[in-house]
Every structure is written in C-alpha cells, then in structure tokens.
Symmetry: none
Subunit: 141 residues, 2 copies
DNA sequence: GTCGAAATCACCCTTTCGGGCGATGGCCCC
DNA sequence: GGGGCCATCGCCCGAAAGGGTGATTTCGAC
C-alpha cells in the first residue's frame, strides 16, 4: 500500500502544478478580468477529482473479484484430459463419486478411474490432497 | 506504475486544454449572460470526476493483492473452536486423519471427533465439502 | 461447588475411497 | 491395420472416512 501513496502524491502534485500554471496562463489571456473565481473552479475541479478517485477506487475494489485464468499450460504439461478436468471441478465442489457420476451421466466406476488417473498425474493419494495441489497449480480457483 | 504516469499526465493535460477551450467558446457564446459559470462548473466538475474515477480505478487495480483475512465473524457465528480451526487447516492441506493426529500430537480418534464436530457446524458430510464451504466462508484461504 | 463448554480418547459399525487388474469401443496417426 | 490415447465400465479387496455413543479431564463462569 505504502508504495502506491508516493506516486499518487506525485501525480496530484503534478496535476495541481499544471492547474496553477494553466491558471496563470489564463490569467494572462483574460487579463481584463481580475476575478478570483478561477480559483474556485480549480478547487471544485480538485474536489470532484478527489471524489472521482474515491468512487473509482471503491468501484474497482468491489467489481474486481479476481477473474482467475485456468493454467492450461500446467494442465497440458501434466496431460490432464478434458473429462478429468470436469471431474476435478466436481471434486472441488465437494461431491462424492456417486454424485459426480449422476451429474455427468456416467458410472461411478468411470469416475473412479478418472480420479485415479488424476491422482497419478497430480502425484497425490487423497482427494483433499488433489484439491490442494490443483489449486496450487491454478487448475481450479 | 511508471507506465501509467505519462498517460495520466497527458490525459489531464488534454482535459485542461479542453476545459480552456470550452471556456473561450463559452465566453464567446454567453458573453452577455449574467450567470454562465454554472455551466462550466458543471462541465469541469464532471470532467474532473470522470478523470478521478479513471485514476482511482487504475490505482486500485494495481494495489493490494488481498492478503486474506480470516473471517473470524463466521467462525464465531458457527461456534468453531480454535482446535477445530487447526484441524481444518490441516484438512485443507490434504492430510489424512492419522497425519493430522501426528502433526498435532493427538490420537486419530480425537481428530475424528473434531472433524465430526466441524461437519456438524458446517452442515456437511464430506471433507471435500467441508473445504468448499469453509473456503466459501473465508475460514481458509 | 456446580455447571457447561472444550478437549481428549475409545469402540463399533457402515459407507466411501483408493489400488490393482482387466476389458471394450472409438478415434487419430503413421 | 496396428499402435496409442481416451473414455467407458466391471470386480475385488483393503484402507480411510464418517456416524453414533459414551467417557474423562480441565477450566472458567455463575
């Protein structure tokens, strides 16, 4: 967090400096007018900008739930097939072999085979272990 | 970060330039009018707010990779005790009851009891299900 | 002092998992 | 047309996990 504060301050300092410079320039341009209202405009602009930053920050904070991109490289490297990935996802959802079989319209034996192959490819012996490793490899969220 | 500073300055320079131009134009258009300033205050405010939103969004996007804070509220609400949380963490690491027992210097029977209590509190029936739910409640990363 | 919650352990029994083995059919590629 | 890979299913058996019940100890709160 601290590392972003300094750049932020710098940016704002630059913006304010630019604004001041612009004000002087405009002062020169509109010499006849001697009103300080430009200052107000600057202040209002700064206030709106600050509010905008706050809003943008909030928006980004809640609208960015970490998109998660599946590590297809690891999947390919381990030779995990498509069907096995499907089973892996059901596994991560906490389903039993029987439930996965019903969800995919397959025999529990087939699910067992897929899971056994997954275990071999992930080099694990338990489903919880498989989940930990798969999450580590970003195969699942 | 550095790569965003230059575009930021450029954009703000553009905004300021556009604002100056708008001022001149409005000066001409509404020369005789008594209160044209409300219009540009609105415009400037909108422009600065928009720029601020943009900056805030960018800033938030590259800040804080979310270090994960355990949801102690949920833990308390469910009545999950400290020992059970320890067991839950080992569970998430993919360890068996026996391994957890050895790691904590306890009997496997005790681990079984803790896990059974966890299941009851999380309202699940399998360890993989418990992990899914615990992750959902942010009890574990 | 007693009551309750937490923590510890034990036993029994059923279900689920996992390992090992084999088998079949489809598909692609050389 | 044979070899390799994937997907599908079956059976057997042992290990792990889960459900139920009961017991003891410790410790803080009332």
């Amino acid at each position: 967090m601290t590392r972003t504060v300094l750049p932020t301050i710098l940016i704002w300092a630059l913006i304010l400096a630019a604004g001041a410079f612009a004000l002087r320039w405009m002062e020169f341009q509109y010499l006849a007018r001697a009103f300080p209202w430009r200052v107000y405009i600057g202040l209002i602009g700064a206030a709106f900008a600050a509010g905008g930053v706050w809003v943008g920050w909030r928006l980004a904070a809640r609208a960015a739930p970490a998109p998660f991109a599946r590590n297809t490289a690891a999947q390919a490297a381990l030779g995990v097939t498509g069907q096995e990935m499907k089973v892996l996802e059901h596994l991560a959802a906490g389903r039993s072999n029987k439930e996965i079989a019903q969800a995919l319209g397959l025999s529990p034996n087939t699910i067992k085979t897929h899971i056994a192959n997954l275990f071999a490819k992930l080099e694990v012996a338990r489903r919880t272990q498989a989940l930990a490793k798969a999450r580590d490899l970003h195969l699942i969220p």
